[in-house]
């Protein structure tokens, strides 16, 4: 330990990586700090989405029948497809991180490109879903209409449009904020793509790919919960 400073000095002299910032002792420490920073950000995101999930749970508890009726009006096939699309994009992200760590530049670029295509596909399917909701007058506001929609499992009972409107408000806010995260993710991945194209990522330096991957997976996890909560409340005939 006595000559650790000497060793550190030599270390920096010998193999100072251009991406290693001067306030970090070594690349490993810089990587861990960046990764921890992303995890702390994701913890704040858990709280951010947690508030919306909490509001959802309270209203679902109060107006379960109305929520079930409103949920049934959404195309679960589109939601299910989007779940599969995001899961596939999570695979391509994890392959991109692996490609960066193992110096496979072509694979890295391909995986980043496929990830972005899948992200765009997700947003396209989401757009189709929103379009349907607009046409059915299921968007909360002055033209909202949800008259005579039966409550599943309760013959002769109809959903209260005011309560259904709360479901659709939560649906649009939660999927909308999630879609916003997807758009931000696409921006980050475009930047990663450009950096990867220039050959900036090496087995020694690939932290941006790794922590952007963490963000992408987190957005996937949010969707994994949104799918059953919004699309699959009470689907049985």
């Amino acid at each position: 330990m006595a000559d650790s400073s000497t060793i550190m000095g030599l270390h920096q002299e010998e193999e100072h990586h251009p991406e290693l910032l001067h306030h970090f002792a070594e690349a490993e420490q810089q990587r861990d700090a960046a990764s921890l920073g992303m995890w702390v950000f994701l913890a704040t995101e858990v709280m951010f989405f947690g508030g919306m999930f909490c509001a959802y749970l309270i209203y679902r508890h109060w107006y379960f029948g109305d929520f079930a009726a409103a949920s049934k009006s959404i195309d679960a096939k589109l939601g299910g497809t989007n779940t599969a699309v995001l899961i596939c994009s999570s695979l391509t992200v994890v392959l991109a991180v692996w490609a960066a760590q193992t110096a496979r530049k072509t694979l890295l670029i391909a995986m980043l490109a496929i990830t972005m295509l899948l992200g765009l596909a997700f947003l396209g399917i989401k757009g189709k879903e929103y379009k349907d909701k607009f046409e059915e007058h299921h968007v909360p506001g002055a033209s909202f209409s949800f008259e005579h929609v039966p409550i599943p499992g309760h013959a002769g009972e109809y959903a209260n449009p005011r309560h259904a409107q709360i479901f659709f408000s939560l649906y649009f806010v939660m999927t909308g904020i999630h879609a916003l995260h997807m758009i931000v993710g696409l921006g980050i991945f475009s930047w990663l793509f450009a950096m990867a194209w220039k050959g900036r990522f090496t087995p020694e330096y690939n932290t941006p790919v790794e922590i952007s991957g963490l963000y992408w997976h987190f957005v996937d996890i949010i969707w994994i919960y949104l799918f059953p909560l919004l699309y699959l409340i009470d689907r049985h005939p």
Partner: protein, 97 residues
Amino acid sequence: MTEHSKSSPLKLYFGIWATLLLFTFITYEAATIDLGPFNAPVALGIATLKATLVALFFMHVWHASEKLTKLVVVSALFFLLLLLGLTMADYATRPWS
């Protein structure tokens, strides 16, 4: 284990991917069956299983070199459960009074 998984984790990644797709299909089909009071627990249980797989293997929490990472994950979940648990403990028990 770490050395091995670093050399070729591809089998693991594709395995997790296939499992996630399978559980998406299961949760979709399970929603069309009336399980009575177990509808929500089954749907949320499958979602939690999927989220755990993504976090452990795609986000590498399982092999995280930093213990701090695990601490952040656990504390985020703890405070989320505190928020949801205490709120629902209130709302769900109001009809009792």
